[in-house]
């Protein structure tokens, strides 16, 4: 036991003495959360809109005000002719142009209908879809208002959409669990995969092998410090997303932390396995970055829904540990469900951990060959 603790202490010294390790461990997760939370937002806020009002009457004025005051849009320019549309898109700040036809208000009164054109910048398809949807919704709302005044609301069906668990459709709800999942497996796997190969490269492995340390002691001794630090990391990320995005954990925090511990342990055992099979630090970094990062992002359901994947990818994704953890963490954080709803995923993670550690201990070479 003393041997083991001595080994753990040594690992802690390595970590705290190398500020780069500390930066990767704590700086990158914080940066990722902020980047994903703010920059990679799928919400539309203050999208630039230009108006070409050929009518300039009371109705168009009202509708324009309604669009701008919605909070989603910001007026960039008032256009005078059709020729200006392309120019204004080229400048890039305007995502959408709204065109009112001539005599818009008059036609609406006399004929009961009038035309609006909405032109969006299709070079950014996501934004274009979002802004046109929002605009149509605002116009539909406006329609109801004026028809309410005129026809006294005769049997119109008004759908009211409500989003459960994430009423405002904030993208942070999607990203924070995803980023936690991704960061944990990346950091844990990367860090631990480097530690054992480093001993191999520095030649210190030779001395460690000629010592009474057992393979399991070396492996767990390597894992332990990163386990504790990653756990602190999870708490930091949760705090950060609560303070910055106001995202609180709906379900039991204790359950969430316990599941995180299991997932950290799994990620670490993946890292250990990588480091045992690779012979140099470079190789270990390569395997853990390329081999882990892409599949994690693409196949875990973090960004692309698993249901939409071709059958083959769906089968591959079954082997991805992040896939299960994402389900667990989302259920607990956002839906607030209890253990009964995630026990299957938990069991899978537990089995994976045991298998990985088992392979690592078996594969660990007690000699140099």
């Amino acid at each position: 036991m003393n041997r083991f603790l001595g080994f753990v202490k040594k690992e802690f010294l390595h970590i705290f003495r190398d500020y780069r390790t500390l930066f990767i461990l704590f700086g990158i997760p914080a940066a990722q959360i902020l980047i994903f939370g703010f920059a990679v937002s799928t919400d539309v806020k203050n999208a630039g809109v230009a108006f070409l009002d050929l009518s300039k009457d009371e109705t168009t004025q009202k509708l324009t005000d309604k669009i701008i005051s919605s909070g989603f849009f910001r007026r960039t320019q008032n256009l005078i002719s059709y020729n200006e549309i392309e120019d204004v898109f080229r400048k890039g700040k305007t995502k959408e142009v709204v065109i009112f036809e001539k005599d818009f208000g008059k036609k609406l009164l006399s004929e009961g209908k009038a035309n609006i054109s909405i032109i969006a910048d299709g070079s950014e398809p996501n934004t274009a879809t979002l802004v046109t949807n929002y605009t149509t919704a605002i116009i539909a709302d406006f329609n109801r208002e004026i028809s309410g005044i005129r026809v006294n609301n005769s049997g119109l069906i008004q759908p009211e959409v409500k989003m459960f668990y994430n009423p405002n459709l904030q993208s942070q709800h999607m990203f924070v669990p995803g980023v936690i999942t991704m960061i944990l497996i990346l950091i844990c796997a990367l860090m631990t995969s480097v530690t054992i190969t480093r001993e191999k490269e520095f030649g210190t492995m030779e001395v460690l092998l000629v010592s009474p340390l057992k393979p399991i002691q070396i492996i767990l001794g390597k894992v332990m410090p990163y386990f504790l630090l990653s756990f602190v990391n999870v708490i930091l990320i949760l705090l950060l997303s609560w303070l910055v995005f106001g995202l609180s954990v709906k379900g039991s925090i204790i359950l969430l932390l316990a599941e995180s511990m299991l997932y950290i342990m799994l990620s670490l055992s993946v890292g250990i396995l990588i480091s045992i099979v690779s012979s140099s630090m470079q190789q270990a970094i390569f395997i853990s970055l390329v081999g882990m990062m892409l599949p994690t992002i693409l196949l875990s359901g973090f960004i692309y829904p698993i249901e939409n994947m071709p059958k083959v990818y769906e089968l591959i994704s079954l082997l991805m540990p992040p896939r299960y953890f994402i389900i667990i963490i989302k259920s607990i954080m956002i839906k607030g469900t209890g253990f009964l709803y995630v026990w299957k995923e938990t069991l899978i993670l537990l089995l994976m951990t045991i298998v990985f550690i088992g392979i690592s201990v078996r594969k660990f070479k007690v000699r140099l060959e």
Binding site: N2, R3, L5, G6, F7, K9, K10, L13, H14, R17, D18, F202, G203, T204, E206, V207, L208, L209, V210, S211, P212, L213, V366, R367, L368, E369
Partner: protein, 306 residues
């Protein structure tokens, strides 16, 4: 006396290269046994087999009475190993390195301090310094302290003095000699022939073969011919001239002179005439005592002829 190591016909092959061929030797208790040979002779491979890091392809090796293959767990408790490459943690301080190795071997620095005090006292003033920032000589002393901290019965040192200055090297050998009092058997390898004299017995090793095993004195005495030390004003010219002289058997540079063996086993006027004709001045030749290196070269030459 009990044998600490008994090696019988050990062979080891790495793909195409035959690293060790039929190596047999035995090491007595509390002796300093040296392996002398150039780089690539197979010293490191042999030491790795002894420290249970590699398995031999053929042959049998008994260390401290245990088989090197099946008894590796027990052996690893009793062997102190200092690899050829500096292999401590450069980002840990002197003290932390020592403490780490002590706990790994289940002991404390205090418990065995008397064993390392002689060596460690030199670096103790720098105990807070990171190991990576030590000078070559200090690194070597720290590595030795770490290898000794668990009071091993067998100490294996792979080229401990390579890359260390002459003063530290000499100090190092004095320390090794003192360790004999503690009943520690020491196995050491070195490419420096002059260090062979400080071992109790040495094995000359070349291309995976042991050329000879004996006390350094006996090895020197094994030199079969008379050896002459020839000097002149231009050393390089002297060697080429000597090698073209028909009576010359061998001519090897040695410090500022050339060690020569001659077919007639004596220096005569014709040699001086020959050298003067070659344009050399201040030529002198005296008989000298053969060193380990001379004997090594002689054995090597024989080996190559076979």
């Amino acid at each position: 006396m009990q044998k600490v190591i008994e090696s019988t016909a050990i062979s080891k092959k790495f793909r195409e290269t035959q690293a060790l061929k039929n190596i047999s030797f035995s090491v007595n208790e509390s002796e300093i046994f040296g392996f002398i040979g150039p780089d690539g002779a197979g010293k490191t491979t042999l030491f790795r087999i002894i420290t249970t890091l590699l398995l031999p392809d053929e042959g049998e090796m008994k260390i401290l009475g245990l088989d090197c293959i099946t008894g590796y767990k027990e052996l690893r408790k009793n062997i102190g190993y200092m690899p050829g490459r500096f292999s401590l943690y450069p980002d840990l301080s002197v003290e932390e390195n020592l403490n780490f190795y002590a706990t790994v071997f289940g002991t404390t620095v205090k418990e065995n301090y008397d064993l390392i005090s002689d060596i460690y006292s030199h670096i103790e003033p720098f105990r807070k310094r990171l190991a990576g920032k030590l000078s070559g000589g200090m690194k070597q002393k720290l590595a030795l302290s770490c290898a000794l901290i668990h009071k091993p019965k067998l100490l294996v040192l792979d080229e401990p003095t390579t890359g260390v200055d002459a003063v530290s090297r000499s100090e190092f050998w004095t320390m090794l000699a003192k360790l004999r009092q503690h009943n520690i058997t020491i196995l050491v390898s070195t490419p420096y022939m002059d260090e062979a004299m400080r071992c109790d017995r040495v094995a000359l090793i070349q291309n995976g073969n042991i050329l000879s095993i004996d006390t350094p004195q006996k090895i020197r005495e094994g030199f079969s011919r008379k050896l002459f030390m020839v000097k002149a004003n231009e050393k390089y010219k002297l060697i080429t001239a000597l090698r073209s002289y028909p009576e010359t058997l061998t001519a090897y540079p040695f410090g500022d002179s050339v060690h020569v063996t001659l077919a007639g086993n004596q220096v005569n006027e014709s040699l001086f005439d020959y050298l003067r004709q070659a344009g050399l001045k201040n030529v002198s030749a005296v008989e000298t005592v053969a060193g380990i290196e001379d004997r090594f070269l002689e054995l090597m030459e024989k080996e190559e002829k076979v």
